[in-house]
Amino acid sequence: MKTLWSVPPVTRRAAKVWLRNLHVFVKTWKVNFFPPFVEAFLYLFAIGLGIGTYVGQIDGIPYVNFIAPAILAISIMNSAFFECTYGSYVRMYYQKSFDAIIATPLSIEDVIAGELLWGATRSVISVAAMLPVFAVFGVISFPMALFIIPLAFLGGLMFAGIAMCFTAITPGIDTLNYPAFLFITPMVLFSGTFFPLALLPLFFQYIVVAILPLTHIVAIARMFTLPALSPVLLLHLTWIVGVTIIFCVLSINLMRKRLIT
């Protein structure tokens, strides 16, 4: 009996779904690669140089350097989240791609796992497009900042899993606006992104750390880019890994429940 918490029987065939998405992405790479690139510039100019001129420093760190890792973390979140909500929903519902693929030796578990891996890959691609911009502006410190790339994959996978759970239960594409608005937007603002968590009332700090996944990615990213490593990194990492496993497993089982009737 398959429950929502059974370990899904994913096979290596999941890579074929990942590859399909990669091929579509590469065909339109100009459209796909440009936004994160431009986004990096926009954030740096508007927030970094604009607001940064007034703020100056936070905890002795230049404001631009303080927000640079947050911008990367937000991009990790957005890339995977929007790929595995709107992107996956379109492929599932409008294009019926999943139905077509499960008539081949691939199972629904393979298909969803491939989609999750692709979502994580989108995060890696975004970060890879942004890093050179930050490098040119000298607001992150190399080579430590390169660790953001594996972080992007892990963080991307976490947001892909969370996103896919919403996709599995949403009645239609419009209702995907709710998690985007009620979950993603607050995280962009309150996860230690543009001001330190310590400015929040203590009670809210606990809540943010406990339930807002972006907080942990911002924290690790900042350790890498400043750089300012500390053993707390392991706590953040454990939190991310745990949540990633839970939501990836849950999303695959929810999708099976939705699509195999």
């Binding site: 399909r20 077509a100 030796p105």
Partner: protein
Amino acid sequence: MNEIIEARNLTKNYNDVVAVDGISFTVRTGEVFGFLGPNGAGKTTTMKMISCLSPRTGGSLTVFGMDPEEHPTVIKAKMGVVPQETNLDPDFSCAGNLTTYARYFDIPAAEAKARADTLLAFVQLEEKRDVLIDKLSGGMKRRLILARALINNPALLILDEPTIGLDPQARHLIWERLKLLQAQGNTIVLTTHYLDEAARLCDRLVIMDKGKILVLGTPADLVKQYVGSEIVEVEMTDEVLACLADLKISYEHAGDMVQIATESARDIVKALLDHCKPKRVITRQATLEDVFLKLTGRTLKE
């Protein structure tokens, strides 16, 4: 192995809806086996259970001697499926659709490319090779989906309404291709609600209604067994009805006509002309539609 599909008491419920209600049939290697029935009869549900896409509620089912729920990967590797709903990948060209699909079957890239070209020629879409799916007509999409179902050289083809919504030319092309595939030794299972299609293509068929199989046999046998070989239709007037009653000829109503099923239309027509002063008389071959009407009292197209 002579039986490629074997179903015993196969049942499928969707919550309270009984979609397939205890059907039994076997499909033999090399035949074209049809499921004929009106919308909602349970044809698609049956195809989905055979193609490992939907678990059954009860009964037993084997495909290639295996249970679809236990060995879906092995079964699906040997099967080609044309779904009722077209689900080609709009992000790829015609050739791209075929090569991408080939990858799911572990077909190496070079081989996939070669097969894609052969299959595009087979369904007469060579000149659409690099065209995106949006730019294809309905008939072209259906042909491409047939080509896609053939990419893994399947021993068994499952076709759910292969010619749905197509113009006569497109239908004929698909029929011709299916005949060719059968000649090459493929086993084909298809559903349709077109009677002419079923009669033309199927070696054996079942007529389904409301989840149940009403009859199973060759098209000719079914017609002979349930209707007779010919039909005489005569315009319904009180005179004609009284006369038929006198002659003890049994008949059925069909709109403003009366239908008489018979082995010899000649004798019936002669009797009518001699005794009944009919206004209008038509004779024709009995068809599967007559069988269906007789069994359910309804027409197939609604």
